[in-house]
Amino acid sequence: MNIEKKIATRQSFGEALVELGKENTQVVVLTADLAGATKTNLFAKEFPNRFINVGIAEQNMMGIAAGLASCGKIPFASTFAMFAAGRAYEQIRNSIAYPNLNVKICATHAGITVGEDGATHQMLEDLSLMRTIPNMTVMCTSDDTQTKWAIKEMAKYNGPVYLRLARVATPVIYDENQSFSIGKMIQIGEGTDATLFATGVMVPEALKAQEVLKQEGIDVRVVDVHTIKPIDKEMILKCAKETKKLISIEDHNIIGGLGSAISEVLTENIPCQLIRMGIQDSFGRSGKAEDLLKYYQIDCQAICKAVRQ
């Protein structure tokens, strides 16, 4: 993990779209008055004719994306996670997922790490909402390298995908040679004292905790869950067998997201305890992102504490 080099996954997304636009002329990008914040302005600059700013009208944006996809385009629709999965939930369900249309929903500013904007903008339920829709693939990437891979991969895959992206800049974890595949978690370390299943911005926190715990002689593995659906059953069961403790960590309500997805696999196969770290069924609040991670007890320190207990 390169702590020196920090980049927000929304930035990686914006840059990857430009590359994709060069390779694939079917790619169309949409936003709802958030071109700057979602970094889709980078694509807009290169390909103004394949860029659609619908104004402040997220539901309409999802409908337009569905129509574009039905005509063979590959639309990437982007806004804040709150207004994508939240505001336009039913458009996504009925106009995109039900007809299984090839729309890529790229939702930035997810989670508590949105910071100062506060509860109305801190989407803590999107993984839950998107995960329960049939046909939907749900992803949440953890760094620059992984996000750039995901954008390319999503364009190759035919079907609706929801990608959760962050506002805050986070360390680059993977080098260019790292291989990824949709639906396969990435195990970092061989530790058997605990498994830290983490997704998105929580992966660097888990990696920091892994380092701290190592000094204390506690050896944990981190599992980066970039695909929430389909969930990687094999990896979950393997870790349940090999490690003493299982912990899930997400910048999301503990109900319905990563913790729930892992629990579902465990209860049906080898019932055992899972400690779910995340937002404990509450709304967010204003504050600096890093202060909020501490306040909601999902920072490195809180993770270490949970492992030690």
Partner: protein
């Protein structure tokens, strides 16, 4: 207490602008542009028009105000503090961890906030609900709802407009802060929503157009709205985003950005009250 002197209201509007800069500067985040453009509107509403009592913020028959464009919370907080709802000193805690002054208004945390907002297009439906409830209880109160010109691109706004005229909500008055800017550029370029006046007219609204920085015109407009029977009113207030701070005026980049120390000092200098 109702203030009628135009100059006195102007002075309050200017104080609100100073507070906005103070809030956004101390938070180092927030939305100065749209807050500055609606300061005169809020000064007129809170100090000349609305039937409210800061000592009794939950009085059932009080007039209601919904800041549908919730990102302009700095302006609302400034008006509420000045009116006496809470201590002025709290303003610098805006957007900080532990403060009740959230990035977007929270009705459970701040006295005087009648609706929690922040997701654009939703406040107006709540305002329609308040106006209907008031009619049911024969309370005779008025409901005011401030919206952005970008915000009214949300489909929900027109669903609300339809409901307002169908229910003959003459106790509802929407104000559109027509500053001609949203985040990605001008209203016409991004949203393409033109002929706002004609649109509201065809939805059954009494439409009043004013200069949103002219206190006298605003007072007349609100008074005229009160006399409308059986139909809702909308005041389309032509404004300048960032009004009052030369380098912010008409500049889209000041939608959601905090000033540096030098910019802060410059802004406060420009907003000094003339009589001082």
């Amino acid at each position: 207490m109702k203030i009628t002197k135009v100059e006195a209201i102007q002075t309050i509007a200017n104080e609100i602008r100073r507070d906005i800069i103070e809030e956004v500067y101390s938070a180092q985040s927030g939305h100065p542009g749209g807050s500055l453009s609606c300061s005169d509107i809020l000064a007129v509403l809170y100090f000349n028009q609305m039937n409210i009592d800061p000592k009794n913020p939950n009085a059932p028959a009080r007039d209601r105000f919904v800041l549908s464009k919730g990102h302009c919370a700095p302006a609302l907080y400034a008006a509420l503090a000045r009116k006496g709802y809470f201590d002025q000193e709290l303003l610098t805690s805006f957007r900080k961890l532990g403060s009740n002054l959230q990035g977007h208004p929270d009705m459970k945390k701040v006295p005087g906030v009648d609706m929690s907002t922040g997701s654009l297009g939703q406040g107006v439906s709540a305002a329609v609900g308040m106006a209907i409830a008031s009619k049911m209880d024969h309370e005779g109160l008025r409901v005011y709802c401030l919206m952005g010109d970008g915000e009214i691109q949300e489909g929900q706004v027109w669903e609300a407009a339809m409901a307002a005229s169908k229910n003959k909500l003459d106790n509802l008055c929407i104000i559109v802060d027509y500053n001609d800017l949203q985040i990605d550029g001008t209203i016409e370029k991004v949203g393409g929503l033109v002929d706002i006046k004609e649109k509201f007219q065809s939805f059954g609204f009494h439409v009043i157009e004013v200069d949103g920085h002219n206190i006298e015109q605003l007072i007349h407009a609100f008074d005229s709205a009160k006399h409308q029977k059986e139909m809702p009113s909308v005041i389309i207030a032509k404004t300048i985003k960032g009004k009052g701070v030369s380098f912010m005026e008409g500049k889209v980049e000041w939608h959601g950005k905090a000033p540096t120390q030098a910019e802060y000092e410059q802004a406060m200098k420009e907003l000094k009250n003339e009589e001082e």
